[in-house]
Symmetry: D2
Subunit: 106 residues, 4 copies
């Protein structure tokens, strides 16, 4: 995930609890007045969209091994960005409308 | 689907049989030497990617009625383009690597 | 797709045009009074569900070759059934609430 | 999520950090010798399958409000089960082959 956030930030994210992550996501949405968009089916379709973007990274690769040994650095970075789209501390997300999170469905 | 292809082309597509569609997709891939990419799981992930793009169009809309009565023309056109991504006669597809089609899975 | 429908039926399906397929799907839904369920986002989520079922067939297989040379007959049959879930002439579908089809989105 | 796990267990899960969750998922897989199944594309397709199952719960509902005010208890419970499919402490998962988790992709 290099290139998306620095080491300190990455560590902070890893230490966060599911509960605090959920709370941070709520605050993130509230601060931007995005809660009105977060109906269950909106969030579900957003999750489908995110999984679709992950799939587009992998779609023409054929089978790949754990650790992505033969991938170019740019592809790994792209993957890291997609995987961190749920990460509330990512600076990259400022221009995104929300963070999908399973806890928001209920 | 206006804006993606003209009326004559649209009619031709509608008249095509599933068998001929499948054959055209095969020819389309063969002519570009793309068959090597068309392993079952590559195609499946490509299909997930396409469904993800459809979902991204609908994700923040809340519920929408049949016929998309309140959608702007640009959104309808975007949707038409995504839906025609499986359409082998679309000129737009020249730069795409393939056309996913259920028949190719087996 | 052996085991799902007989040869004659399979041929009839292959010869059908996209336009007639679309019309048959409409009639199929109308006859069951299912049109009320066919809002764009309902259909989209149903499509996501179908793609999810396809994915579950492939998820633990590792990479598979075209033609599925090492698959057991039961797995091939299961795949055929999932792929034919869009096929309006399949007897298997009598108990399903609808047939998702891209043409219904607009 | 009542019915899937008791209150104490639920609290324990909420307090877990992303790092520990990731580690528990690894241990869970290792103890069952499932690591061999966890190639990136296997996990990705498993994630698509899970999102597909969520979609099947929502597909015929039309739009639903936050908190699912008009849902029956059985539907809410089913949803809770699907959402907890990533939860490594769920007893329900003993018979599942693995837990998909974004962290496993890299």
């Amino acid at each position: 995930m290099e290139g998306v956030k620095d080491k300190t930030e990455e560590k902070a994210v890893e230490e966060i609890s599911l509960k605090d992550l959920s709370r941070k996501l709520e605050e993130f949405a509230k601060a931007r007045d995005w809660e009105k968009y977060h109906s269950p089916r909106n969030l579900l379709l957003a999750m489908v969209g995110e999984v679709g973007e992950l799939s587009e990274i992998f779609q023409w690769k054929g089978e790949v091994e754990k650790g992505l040994p033969n991938w170019e650095e740019a592809d790994k970075e792209h993957l890291g960005e997609e995987l961190s789209d749920n990460n509330p501390s990512s600076e990259k997300k400022e221009d995104r409308r929300f963070s999908p999170h399973p806890c928001n469905f209920q």
